[in-house]
């Protein structure tokens, strides 16, 4: 885990590390600066170590505007350069509809219904990932 709040308004979003996967859970309304800081934090953490995937959980986020959309795209592009996959998980229907109407389909971004699904997705592709539990492709 990296980062702790430095000030009430420009805090760090915690970046959790689970094996080779970074897990970021966004909640509520984010300041632009917090989002930019997060982008940096993910970049640094991903470069530091053998990270193979990044999961950004958006299930607690009520709005994604073009600024936030750019941050997500940038994180995906950046991690790709560092040989890690980014998966955005749990986007709400209203947010997805709004993004599409806004004209942002974020084509470069991988998505999943929820965090579990995202980890499964990464696990399926990164077979070498040392992680217990979760067998893949065993859906009913």
């Amino acid at each position: 885990m990296t980062g702790a709040a430095t000030s009430p308004f420009e805090g760090h979003v915690p970046v959790l590390r689970l094996g080779g996967v970074l897990l970021v859970t966004l909640q509520g309304d984010l300041y632009d600066s917090t989002a930019e800081q997060l982008q940096q934090d993910i970049g640094e953490t991903a470069a530091d170590s053998a990270v193979t995937g990044v999961v950004i959980d958006l299930s607690g986020v009520e709005i994604v505007d073009s600024f936030m959309g750019r941050v997500l795209s940038d994180v995906a592009a950046m991690t790709r350069l560092l040989a890690a996959q980014t998966v955005v998980a749990g986007m709400r229907p209203a947010v997805a509809i709004t993004l599409v109407e806004l004209g942002l389909t974020l084509p470069g971004l991988r998505t999943a219904l929820n965090t579990e699904e995202a980890l499964r997705l990464l696990g399926a592709e990164v077979a070498a990932l040392p992680r217990a539990g979760r067998a893949r492709g065993e859906s009913p």
Binding site: F9, S33, S66, G69, R70, A94, I97, T98, L102, G103
Partner: protein, 147 residues
């Protein structure tokens, strides 16, 4: 376009990162109070976020005036964003997708227009830009845009 009655006005400054969050929260609260559906709420909050950021980034700051409008029993929310920035030189270009004069995906103005029921913009060079948007909560059929 004019609307008959207006009430519950609020005026929020747009001068910082923090103000953008306040604008979004205020619009969210207002649309919820007016009984907007979740999708319509999200659309208007997102549009507000885009327009407020435009005023902040390109207009050097400004303000948002928030008025609940109602006409013959149907309620809506009108937001007026104004700044005293340099103004927009080419409106058509600014409204087209992919156009950006700063960072971002260039979806600000054109995108915001698609998220609301009514949209008008008045920009004068050297004087500033005012964008007025209105959404109604009963999902009236959207009028076709005149070319």
């Amino acid at each position: 376009m004019t609307h008959s009655t207006g009430s519950v006005s609020a005026c929020l400054p747009i001068n910082s990162d923090l103000d953008l969050v306040r604008v979004r929260q205020h619009v969210r609260q207002m649309t919820a109070q007016l009984g907007f559906g979740l999708v319509e709420q999200t659309k208007l909050v997102t549009a507000a976020s885009e327009l407020a950021r435009n005023a902040l980034v390109h207009g050097g700051g400004g303000q948002m005036e928030c008025t609940s409008v109602s006409s013959g029993g149907i309620q809506g929310l009108r937001l007026v964003f104004s700044d005293q920035g340099p103004g927009i030189v080419d409106l058509d270009q600014a409204l087209s997708d992919g156009y950006t004069s700063g960072e971002g995906l260039g979806m600000g103005l054109g995108g915001a227009r698609r998220l609301v029921h009514e949209f008008s913009i008045d920009s004068r060079r050297g004087i500033g830009t005012t964008v007025t948007v209105t959404s109604w909560n009963s999902r009236p059929p959207r009028p076709r845009e005149a070319p």
